[in-house]
């Protein structure tokens, strides 16, 4: 991952900043330029809830490049308290501890490192609440 690509998403990855349609209120994560509900192009920036629950999950046992040290790890679609769903790791959670409906809260974690000399990528994960 080149730093510019990482950098561009920092508001979302560090602060869970989403876009809310000023006309119909629909929330988009990441923010986008056009609302698919009402076609409005006017948005305001909001911060997503930092608590939620596991909507569905898996345990990744064959990890992609850069994730070996964390493997096996729990990956989930988490439904935040404001209704927005995101794919994120459930950190500090063993394969036997996760279930649909598990209450979780967001924590700031290291997501990946680009080799030994590349940029360190941070972002959101959840932990059991």
């Amino acid at each position: 991952m080149q730093p510019q690509r990482y950098w561009r998403e920092i508001p979302q990855r560090y602060r869970l900043e989403a876009g809310r349609c000023r006309r119909c209120g629909k929330v988009f994560m990441p923010p986008r330029g056009l609302c698919d509900s009402c076609r409005s192009t006017e948005f305001e920036t909001i911060r997503l809830a930092d608590r939620g629950k596991v909507h569905t999950y898996t345990v990744i046992r064959v990890p992609p490049a850069g994730f070996a040290a964390q493997s096996p790890y729990v990956l989930a679609v988490v439904e935040l308290d404001d209704g927005v769903r995101l794919t994120m790791q459930v950190a500090d959670c063993g394969p036997d501890e996760v279930r649909v409906g598990l209450p979780v809260r967001v924590e700031f974690r290291k997501i990946n490192e680009v080799g030994k000399s590349g940029v360190i990528c941070y972002g959101y994960k959840v932990v059991p609440a």
């Binding site: 998403e9 990855r13 994560m29 990441p30 909507h55 569905t56 999950y57 898996t58 345990v59 990744i60 046992r61 064959v62 990890p63 992609p64 490049a65 994730f67 964390q70 096996p72 790890y73 990956l75 989930a76 679609v77 769903r85 995101l86 794919t87 994120m88 790791q89 394969p95 649909v100 997501i111 990946n112 990528c121 972002g123 994960k125």
Partner: protein, 385 residues
């Protein structure tokens, strides 16, 4: 719009083919497809390939293919819709022929996947998901489908055993297909004790990494007699749809809306219902995918795809045979070639040439090809002319 026929269909050998590259594979499939026709020319070439760049370091496949197939000069273009690239290339060729822009169109789907290592293959396939909001956080394709499986199990009581039954059935069909990558009878117990990949999915729930190509020759139906050697197969309808790129953006993570929409459009255009379909080739990249796709296609009620496979209805000889070729699971899954190869199987079946896996006198077959986690899907229905 002109009616369109498939007059030639062929596949290269599929598997880990260390001696063959993109060009060799394509050439092998195209020569077989052309050999079934009397066509002395090709007016247009449509290539389906997901990512020649990431898998084989080669893009600009329009030129590469026209060149290596001996058709330099002929207009060519490449369609990409991740694992649905082959199906989408077929649609582009169909549209040209139907619109009268050309008469003889060649479709070639190809993927050379074994020139990269495991991490690179995972990365390349991952580009079909949301890079910044799924893969960034550690998602893999088996992982994304596993999350669909967990939710499907949670909501509908789909069982681990039902997932296994998809793999067992498709490997059993693959045994009857000489072109399949794997010829191995497997049991549910073997599926359930194979290596963990992404819970609950195990190695034998996943389609393999495959090198391979598949090709079709299309022409207007009224020219099929002149240009073809065999009984022509007619394109009855094509339905095509998209969905959100990220699984988490969907209201329902165990519902394939793109497949439902594509099927609805195809059924409507063909004036057919699910029960009119005699066999289906569906995108079983993972066992759960076949279960969810059979629901989306209307072969099973919502949530009952697991029960459908368990009932034996989708086996050869059942009410609606699914993946007689062995599916992606056993036949292999060279991603860009898959959608074309599904149609090759339908052509072979509709002509009654499928040997031991032949479905009894089919009149209509359906192919469902899917990109990513269902971010795109294309449903094509072929019938005897």
């Amino acid at each position: 719009m002109r009616e369109v026929a498939v007059i030639g269909a062929g596949m290269s050998r599929w598997g880990e083919l260390w001696h063959q590259d993109l060009r060799d594979l394509s050439c092998e499939a195209v020569l077989k497809a052309l050999a079934e026709t009397k066509a002395d020319r090709v007016d247009s070439i449509h290539v389906g390939c997901m990512t020649g760049g990431l898998f084989a370091g080669q893009e600009h496949l329009a030129s590469v293919m026209a060149d290596c197939l001996g058709f330099a000069g002929v207009p060519a273009s490449r369609s990409e819709s991740a694992c649905a690239s082959g199906g989408v290339a077929f649609k582009a060729a169909y549209a040209e022929v139907a619109a009268g822009l050309c008469d003889v169109a060649l479709v070639v789907g190809v993927e050379k996947m074994t020139d990269v290592g495991g991490d690179e293959a995972t990365y390349a396939l991952g580009t079909a998901a949301d890079q910044e909001y799924e893969c960034y956080n550690g998602a893999t394709f088996p992982g994304l489908y596993a999350m669909m499986a967990v939710r499907h199990m949670h909501e509908f009581g789909t069982t681990r055993r039902q997932l296994s039954q998809v793999a067992v059935k498709n490997h059993s069909n693959g045994l009857l297909n000489p072109e399949a990558q794997y010829h191995a009878k497997i049991t549910a117990e073997e599926v359930e004790s194979s290596a963990h990949v992404a819970d609950p999915l195990r190695l034998l729930d996943c389609s393999p990494i495959t090198d391979g190509a598949a090709a079709l020759v299309l022409c207007p139906l009224d020219m099929a007699k002149k240009l073809g050697k065999k009984a022509p197969v007619k394109v009855l309808a094509i339905g095509h749809a998209t969905d959100t790129i990220a699984l988490h953006s969907r209201k329902d993570v165990c519902r394939l809306a793109a497949v439902e929409k594509a099927a609805e459009r195809a059924y409507k255009a063909a004036s057919l219902k699910p029960e009119d379909i005699d066999l289906a080739e569906v995108h079983d990249c993972f066992t759960i995918a076949e279960i969810m796709v059979t629901e989306a296609l209307g072969f099973a009620r919502r949530g009952e795809g697991g029960k459908l496979v368990a009932s034996g209805a989708t086996a050869i000889g059942g009410k609606i045979p699914v993946n007689t070729s062995g599916g992606l699971k056993s036949k292999g899954h060279p991603v860009g070639a898959t959608g074309v190869a599904q149609l090759v199987e339908l052509a072979v079946q509709l002509r009654g040439e499928a040997g031991g896996r032949q479905v009894k006198k089919p009149s209509a077959g359906l192919a469902q090809n899917m990109g990513g986690t269902g971010g795109s899907s294309i449903v094509s229905i072929l019938g005897v002319a």
